[in-house]
């Protein structure tokens, strides 16, 4: 009943919004096409991008390029951030050594690394991976760290008492115990990856959705701007869904505990 009502209202709202969009841009012409595209404009842009291509490539080239960079940057960040967070959570000594450096770097917003990344690595893919890494690294570290620190002490003591070996302890106590928080961090990392990638591509790139947005902005082409934003939103949503699915598969017990 709840869900039915929500979905119905949601669909209705979206339908009304599309109608209002159509009426104000097309029927009444209240919004000038130079400022915001009509549905027909967006359709034309979609066909143009998909068939003939725009800003160095067709739709699938840009989408795959952006997606590939986000996934790669995200994996690199998660692959380095999570172990570091676990290490800092586990060892007070590691925490004490790394924390001050971490605190020094953390207030710098990821987007502020973009000019430095371009200086160091140019406009290619390596610079994008570097900025995504910086952006996605921090949430992974912090949440993995917190995850370890919130494991119940008696679980750790029980494992100790039973003489669990180090590798086995990491695999069977530390990682599963911290896993829910790790995934919270990964979700934030993924969002940060998208934001920084789009920004980095807007500043300078050869392919990608940010490149499409950038060229469309210079051409004053509202239909293409709209399409670029829609693609970014859809990809962001889709990758978040994939991560949620991975989480549900990897941590069946979390769901059980909630239900």
């Amino acid at each position: 009943m709840q869900i039915g009502r929500r979905t119905a209202f949601g669909l209705l709202t979206i339908l009304v919004l599309v109608l209002v969009w159509y009426i104000t841009t097309t029927t009444l012409g209240l919004i000038s096409p130079g400022r915001f595209p009509s549905p027909a404009d967006v359709w034309v842009s979609t066909r143009q991008l998909a068939v003939t291509g725009y800003a160095n490539g067709q739709l699938h080239v840009h989408v795959l390029h952006s997606l590939w960079l986000v996934v790669l940057g995200f994996l690199v960040a998660a692959g380095t951030g999570v172990p570091l967070g676990l290490l800092m959570g586990w060892s007070r000594r590691a925490e004490a050594i790394i924390n001050p450096v971490f605190l020094l770097i953390r207030p710098i917003p990821p987007l502020a690394w973009i000019p430095l990344a371009i200086l160091w690595l140019g406009l290619g893919d390596a610079a994008k991976i570097m900025v995504i890494w910086f952006a996605a690294f921090v949430p992974s570290v912090i949440n993995s760290f917190t995850g370890v620190r919130t494991i119940e002490p008696y679980i750790i003591e029980a494992a100790r008492m039973l003489g669990t070996r180090r590798m086995r302890f990491v695999r069977e106590v530390l990682v599963p115990g911290a896993a829910p928080m790790i995934f919270t961090g990964l979700r934030l990392s993924l969002q940060a990856s998208w934001t920084t990638l789009v920004a980095a591509e807007l500043v300078g790139a050869l392919y990608g959705l940010g490149r499409v947005l950038n060229v469309a902005q210079q051409d004053i082409y509202p239909g293409m701007i709209f399409l670029g934003m829609a693609c970014v939103a859809i990809l962001g949503w889709a990758t978040t869904r994939v991560l949620a699915e991975v989480e549900a598969r990897a941590l069946p017990w979390v769901k059980l505990a909630r239900a």
Partner: protein
């Protein structure tokens, strides 16, 4: 901080000592890389060279203004965008917490827009409001608005039922329930949201200035990048980090203050 760990907490002295080791390694490796010429100086200036450049920028102009002037214009934009997000987001969140129909209408639209990275608004922002003050404000707003809305909404929804029912029983009109029951009980959630919101807003601003602006720290950094002046780029990063840090500390203070004394 939760206490679970492999080992008992370190003594204060040990924390300071290890921290110093960490910092010495960090700055040591950096200086060694730069001074030995392993990484060209042009691309990685040594820490002291950056300190020198930073102090220089405080008084000499780069890209049309000194660093404090760039910072001031960035901060002004941030102030406008953040204020707008607060003024729109918090009342809307509270109203959504009270009026179910508004919740039903706004939530689907909001969920649709939320997945657009704030920075992706740049082209429309430039098209609609120009690249001076208006455009960047829209982008800051896009970054700072969601946490304001979500936290006000959550605060309102988690207001204790008996309080609301008591107010209703006494015949309180909805607008007074919102102002005098929902708002005060949401304050902790809202102040927590403000911190997140300010952080995202400040970071969106930096992004916006990298792409469209003719003043501000972001603009200064892009100019420095084009001139291959790495020390100026890093000075800009430090300045942005410092201001972001100060904003965060100020809001954290506010949060602690509110938690201790309440609003009144």
């Amino acid at each position: 901080m939760p206490a679970t760990s492999s080992s008992p907490p370190l003594s204060h002295l040990a924390v300071v000592g290890y921290g110093a080791i960490g910092l010495v390694i960090f700055f040591g490796v950096w200086t060694a890389l730069s001074a030995s010429g392993a990484v060209p100086r042009q691309f990685l200036p040594a820490p002291y060279e950056i300190a020198e450049r930073f102090t220089q920028l405080l008084t000499s102009t780069f890209a049309g203004a000194t660093l404090p002037q760039h910072l001031a214009s960035s901060f002004m934009r941030f102030g406008y965008g953040f204020a707008l997000a607060v003024v729109v987001g918090i009342p809307l969140g509270l109203l959504m917490g009270w009026f179910r129909w508004l919740d039903d209408i706004v939530t689907p639209a909001f969920d649709g827009v939320r997945f657009i990275a704030p920075i992706a608004w740049v082209p429309f922002a430039a098209l609609w409001f120009g690249t001076g003050v208006g455009g960047p404000i829209l982008i800051i707003f896009a970054g700072a608005f969601p946490p304001c809305l979500i936290n006000a909404y959550r605060g309102a929804r988690f207001t204790s039922r008996p309080l609301i029912e008591a107010a209703q029983m006494l015949g309180t009109p909805p607008w007074r329930i919102i102002l005098e029951v929902l708002l005060p009980s949401s304050v902790p959630s809202i102040t927590a949201g403000l911190r997140v919101s300010a952080g995202l807003g400040w970071q969106s601003l930096v992004g916006a200035e990298l792409i469209v602006a003719s003043t501000g720290v972001g603009f200064m950094m892009v100019q420095a990048q084009l001139n291959i002046s790495t020390s100026t780029v890093i000075s800009g990063m430090i300045a942005i980090g410092l201001v972001g840090f100060v904003i965060d500390v100020a809001l954290r203070r506010l949060e602690a203050e509110v938690r201790r004394h309440g609003l009144a």
